[in-house]
């Protein structure tokens, strides 16, 4: 069963198509990184998942329930961290969480226990009776994160969760994501920080101009990228590098006498080692350089976008 199923989602603002026939499925228990440049349609997709935006067409199901037909049933089981949002500034941290907790069927003791747990978790326990308007941006973001977790959700939807956070805050968010993943929760998060996506997610989706350009486990996306864009093989020999000629080679960039980077259509390490052995060269190292997520991301945006 999928935690999130988006089918043929389309949303336009005037003539601009923010999301164009997007189909995306996210399995239960995984951490899904949703990547895309600004204006690619990430936030529109996420807001549609919460029911804050009404799409032109398509459907969204979360934990088997239709988001637009059964909004309350869905929202009882999810937690959402909005991007660039704030929390009620005239209320204290405690009163804010109490307000959100009141939407759930919990006893007073359960509510108080949960609020205490969360405030301690996000490091705001000591300032729980202070008005939010006196908080720093990072503190507000941490309180927002706490409200996301108030109902111990099965699916967490985080829109740019570390945006505007100091390193300590970002570390806290990442830790929470890891903890939730350990508990078997599904985490769907959008980000433009590629290292963060690489670090946290086991599946990635890249959206460009409202269309999904890449989807799957990070390793698969990288492999697919290499097959499409070519392999980058680094070779180093003890002796001077001999002349290398193979039909799969696109070009060779010499670093020095012993080192070179070979760009090939496929993984030719076996053929290379045979050729070098024949020519009497001793191999010091021969490895395929994996593309970074940044390479994949940038190429996806600039090469594949129409």
């Amino acid at each position: 069963m999928y935690a999130i199923e988006i089918e043929n989602l389309t949303k336009s603002y005037g003539n601009f198509k923010a999301v164009d026939n997007l189909t995306l499925k996210v399995e239960k228990g995984i951490t899904f990184g949703f990547l895309g440049p600004n204006g690619a349609g990430k936030t529109t997709t996420i807001l549609s998942m919460i029911g804050l935006i009404i799409p032109d067409s398509g459907s969204i199901r979360i934990l088997g329930e239709d988001v637009f037909r059964e909004p309350v049933k869905v929202k009882e089981r999810i937690g959402y961290l909005p991007e660039n949002a704030t929390i009620y500034e005239e209320l204290t941290a405690w009163r804010n969480l109490e307000f959100f907790a009141n939407f759930y069927k919990m006893s007073r003791q359960e509510k108080e226990k949960r609020i205490e747990e969360l405030l301690k978790m996000v490091g705001l326990w000591d300032v729980r009776y202070r008005k939010v308007k006196t908080f720093s941006k990072g503190m507000k973001q941490r309180l927002l994160l706490a409200q996301t977790l108030i109902n111990d959700p099965e699916v967490l939807i985080l829109d740019e969760p570390t945006s505007g956070l100091d390193p300590e805050g970002a570390y806290l968010v990442k830790n929470i994501v890891r903890e939730e993943r350990k508990k078997g929760k599904t985490v769907f998060f959008s980000s433009h920080i590629l290292s963060e996506v690489e670090e946290l997610s086991n599946r990635v989706g890249i959206i460009v101009k409202g269309k999904l350009r890449a989807l799957g486990p990070l390793e698969d996306i990288k492999r697919e990228f290499m097959e499409l864009e070519g392999y980058e093989i680094k070779v180093e020999t003890k002796q001077k590098l001999p002349q290398i000629e193979l039909p799969e080679i696109i070009r060779i960039e010499k670093v020095n006498e012993n080192k070179a980077i070979i760009f090939a259509k496929e993984d030719i390490r076996e053929q290379l080692s045979e050729l070098l052995a024949k020519k009497g060269a001793t191999i010091v190292s021969l490895k395929v350089e994996e593309p970074s997520l940044e390479d994949v991301f940038l190429r996806t945006i600039y090469r594949r976008s129409d």
């Binding site: 919460i50 309350v72 959402y80 009620y88 069927k105 996301t148």
Partner: protein, 308 residues
């Protein structure tokens, strides 16, 4: 289980939140001062009268005072409603709130109820301070006088709710709270002052445009009918008529239908509260329609809006 209904949760949060704003504290202070000022006005008015007319005129003074309060109420109510929704959208707080198990209609109703309770509280503050200051100034408030004060209150509340609905309508129509607040300040001035003055002036000018003295009672009555018809879009006009029915026993339609002669007859009539409501039922119905119409538009707009 502590199961707080979502509408009340939103309403209580809204009251709790607004009680902590300087804007509301200033508004409450104005209402408190208005209550005191009106008590002083009543005292000076009564002292100027001959003793035998005091009791008879007490209700008339009260009616005039309450008509003046309507301007305050209109401005306060429309201002309270004007940033009910758009401020939540602008600040992004609506995104966090609506991600919890609550329907959109519960949100807008909760916001409306929260603000309505705040208006009621302000009005209650005015009423209590008014009675308290009357007692402080040495004017005895008999049970009859108190009833005189209480009788029109439900209609003042209805009038406030109409302007609150106008405010909520503005808050769904205009994305920027500041723009909505500017329009909200102008709206009661336009509806309650400029428009009625302009309508009356134009129609009277046309009726007596020849410069001849207005001797034709029938023509004047016809002009008055036109004025009242055009004023039927103004909430304050209906409130004034309900007030007139309660305090003087007549409404504008009675004058138009019965002629000026009926005014004298009505003035001497001492109608009961239920009779007054019977007389003013059209105006009460008009206020209810004026409450429901803008709220229904705001509701529909909000239900279909993209909350980005």
């Amino acid at each position: 289980m502590t199961d707080v209904p979502p509408i009340f949760n939103i309403a209580l949060k809204d009251i709790y939140e607004s009680m902590r704003t300087k804007r509301l504290i200033i508004t409450f202070a104005i209402f408190l001062l208005a209550g005191a000022g009106m008590a002083y006005w009543m005292k000076t008015s009564i002292m100027k009268m001959a003793m035998e007319f005091q009791t008879e005129n007490m209700s008339m003074i009260r009616g005039t005072q309450l008509s003046a309060v309507k301007y305050f109420l209109a401005v306060l109510s429309v201002l309270l409603g004007a940033d009910a929704i758009n401020r939540e959208i602008e600040g992004g707080t609506i995104k966090a709130t609506l991600s919890h198990p609550i329907y959109r209609d519960q949100f807008i109703l909760g916001k409306y109820f929260g603000r309505a309770l705040t208006v009621l509280f302000a009005f209650l503050l005015f009423a209590v301070s008014n009675v308290a200051f009357l007692l402080i100034l040495g004017i005895p408030v008999s049970s009859d006088a108190f009833m005189t004060f209480i009788k029109p209150l439900p209609f003042f509340v209805l009038f406030s709710l109409v302007y609150l609905a106008f405010g909520v309508f503005l808050s769904t129509l205009l994305r920027k709270p500041l723009n909505a607040i500017i329009v909200a300040v102008l709206l009661p001035i336009l509806l309650e002052f400029i428009y009625p003055t302009a309508v009356s002036a134009i129609i009277v000018f046309r009726a007596v445009g020849s410069g001849a003295p207005p001797t034709d009672i029938g023509a004047l009555q016809e002009s008055l009918g036109k004025i009242y018809m055009l004023l039927s879009t103004v909430p304050g006009h209906h409130l004034d008529n309900i007030n007139n029915a309660i305090f003087y026993g007549f409404t504008s339609s009675d004058i138009v239908e019965g002629g000026f002669g009926s005014l004298v007859a009505f003035q001497t009539q001492n109608v009961s509260y239920y009779e007054a409501i019977g007389l003013a039922w059209k105006h009460i119905a008009a206020l209810i329609v004026m409450l429901l119409l803008p709220f229904a538009i705001a509701y529909t707009k909000f239900m279909k809006a993209d909350l980005r």
